[in-house]
Amino acid sequence: MTSTNQNNRRDFLKKGLGIAAVAGSVTALRAFQQDSVELTGETVQLLSPQGEIVEIDKAYLKPIPEVHISPDEAREGIPGRRFVMVIDLAQCKNLRKCHDACEKMHHCGPDNEFLKVLKMQATELATPFWQPTMCFHCDEPPCVKVCPVDATYKRSDGIVLIDTNRCIGCRFCMVACPYSARTFDWSEPQLSEEVKHQHYSPETSVPAKKGTVSKCDFCPDVVRKGEMPHCVTACPNGVFYFGDENEDAVSNGAETVRLSELLRDRGGYRFMEDMGTKPRVYYLPPVNRAFPFEDDEFTKNKGSKS
């Protein structure tokens, strides 16, 4: 939560989420009784389980222990949920905050992008636009169909994950995915010592392993805690809506809307619908744009062809 974006409303929202998360954690409060700690003098306000605002020294704060989801547990979806994403192309101006946050949180580096922001153009006469793409967590995932060892699988909550402890590195799933959403660790991934020894879970996709496939995981580890995927929280323009199809609600952090109404009123569509893959990521067309299209350093020299 150290993002330095300018949007005050968003900052407020994030802090709010942070407080709620600490307050909800029993272990953090247990710190009052158990440990004798050196006080820092800095205090924070917390909401206690009884609903009172209490002020405590920062030294009493403990990080919430990570709930470790093992590869076997990760095969079960979060009960009762059907996660879905909507990407508003009219709002995207290629700031790439989503991309950077994703890269940072998944420690995946520039050669293993889980999320791309691509310059797209429907036809020659139409203005180009920026399109974030990632794993679409398809309901008919061609990648899952071809996996010979059940290393990549579809969960009950709609998320498609990879167990890199089982992946044999045949890369058939990469070939099967028409969206080129998957990436491969061709060599030993460059990770810090800390990350390297982190407990592996398919829900975090960390740490990456040589000779295996990885991809966007919809951040189920943070979604479990009631937070939004990193790309959603990182975007200052509210491009990404994330939510639950069962609740018919999606939120981009600033506003929460009905999924069905959003798709109906804004002409929602899915990328390459004719592939029959039934993606769980929808797009809103780049009409009534918030920003004029601007080429960036990568696409400037490439001419109009995208």
Partner: protein
């Protein structure tokens, strides 16, 4: 009627002596030693780089996220393709009653066994995690075409080994009884492998029945092995692979390169061993030439279907792929392969002079090299044309050019397959001895079940 055989063999000692002297395996001459030496060096260099690859990962190749399959996979398809020669000669010609196939059977089975072994090895070479190979069995999922491929390749390997081994048993017994002055281990090997064969009618009957059953069994498996291999591509949504023509297209191409492979091997054996032109005659080359023309024409037909029909429509991403093949950066390779590897051989082999041993040998080399690069053109260009734009990736990701190490490993597998064939020919008769002796008998009658 077979009871007389041992008498016949003894009675016509000269003929038996000549044929066995000609066909029995012999120690390598200097050319044989150089051949084995060169192949071993290429093989060991490939092995050396493969050890590096296991250590450092597939990053030593030029494959990256878009071109995620490269020459390992196209080489795998090539090996599977050429292995179909075994079923062509041992099964299809056998069942169609072509008697002239006798001296070609063992050569074709040797090629089949060697290439199917290396097809399996190459697929392991391509794996990012070869250490987890057992997952393919432990966690097998039946809906994956890779699982089908594992099943059908294993089945084909077993049947091919049996089709290689069973007809060999009488020859092994023959060598066990007649070869003198060979090392004790070799003598022992023949003895064990001959399984106590003594040419009695009961044994012969079982053997002939078994060969007949295997010859029938292997045909659907051979079609299966290459059809399933084509499905590794055709079951995806990619331009250039998303084709219902792929099964027959692959199978016909496989029979064509298989025929080319056996012709090349025939020529090398014929020129290398003294007197072998008596057994691998001009007639054999002529017949194989006719067969190769037929198989090439079938392949041409499937090529027209594969390229002309989508080219007529020029649909979206398919158009980009086809333009790259016809006019773009793959065009020189594409047209060379289609012309020199398919059209030219068809034209040249229509002339009787083209079917003489040396010309047909050179043509079959063209066919084999063309077939190898044809698999390259089937596998690689498709992956250079993904549906989403390949923006923001390094230049080297956009154009797949295999690295030296990748070429070395690939060359190592090809050398390895040739080494297996060579070592088989060193220890076993590459032309069936007993069968040749029997057929040379003026009173020889074909067994009824054949």
């Amino acid at each position: 009627m077979k009871t007389k055989k041992s008498v016949t063999l003894a009675g016509d000692a000269d003929r038996v002596e000549t044929i066995s002297r000609d066909l029995m395996p012999k120690p390598f001459g200097w050319s044989g030693k150089i051949w084995v030496g060169v192949l071993s060096i290429i093989f060991l260099l490939g092995l050396f780089f493969y050890v590096q690859q296991v250590w450092y990962g597939l990053g030593i190749t030029a494959m990256r996220d878009y071109s995620t399959w490269g020459i390992y996979i196209s080489n795998f398809v090539f090996f599977v393709a050429i292995s179909l020669v075994g079923s062509l000669i041992s099964a299809i010609l056998k069942l169609s009653g072509a008697k002239w196939r006798t001296p070609l059977t063992r050569i074709s089975e040797m090629i089949a066994v060697a290439s199917i072994i290396f097809a399996a090895i190459v697929i392991i070479v391509d794996m990012g995690r070869p250490d987890r190979f057992l997952n393919v069995i432990l966690h097998a999922r039946i809906q994956s075409p890779i699982t089908w491929d594992v099943i059908v390749i294993t089945t084909y390997l077993v049947i091919s080994l049996l089709l290689f081994y069973l007809p060999l048993i009488p020859d092994l017994a023959f060598m066990r009884d007649r070869m003198k002055g060979i090392p004790a281990w070799q003598q022992k090997m023949y003895k064990i492998l001959a399984l106590g064969w003594k040419s009695d009618p009961g044994q012969e009957k079982i053997l002939r029945r078994s060969e007949q059953i295997l010859a029938i069994l292997i045909i659907p498996v051979a079609f299966g092995i290459h059809t399933v291999t084509s499905w590794l591509f055709a079951t995806t949504l990619r331009p250039g692979w998303d084709s219902s023509n792929f099964g027959p297209y692959f199978v016909s191409g496989a029979f064509m390169v298989g025929a080319g492979g056996v012709i090349a091997a025939m020529y090398i054996f014929r020129t290398h061993y003294t007197n072998w032109e008596k057994y691998l005659t001009d007639k054999h080359f002529d017949y194989m030439g006719r067969l190769l023309v037929l198989l090439s024409l079938v392949y041409l037909y499937f090529n027209i279907n594969e390229y002309f029909v989508p080219a007529y429509k020029m649909k979206g991403q398919e158009a980009e792929h086809l333009n790259a093949l016809f006019f773009g950066n793959y065009a020189p390779l594409f047209w060379s392969v289609q012309i020199f590897g398919m059209v030219l051989p068809i034209v040249l082999l229509l002339f009787p002079k083209g079917r003489k041993p040396l010309p047909i040998f050179l043509i079959s080399i063209l066919v084999i090299v063309g077939a190898w690069f044809k698999r390259f053109l089937i596998v690689i260009p498709t992956l250079s044309h993904p549906y989403i734009p390949m923006d923001r990736v390094p230049e080297s990701w956009q154009h797949y050019i295999p690295t030296f190490k990748e070429w070395s490993i690939t060359a190592g597998t090809l050398a390895g397959a040739l080494l297996i064939v060579t070592l088989m020919a060193r220890l076993l008769p590459a032309i069936p001895v007993v069968e040749t002796i029997e057929e040379a008998d003026p009173n020889h009658k074909a067994p009824e079940t054949d």
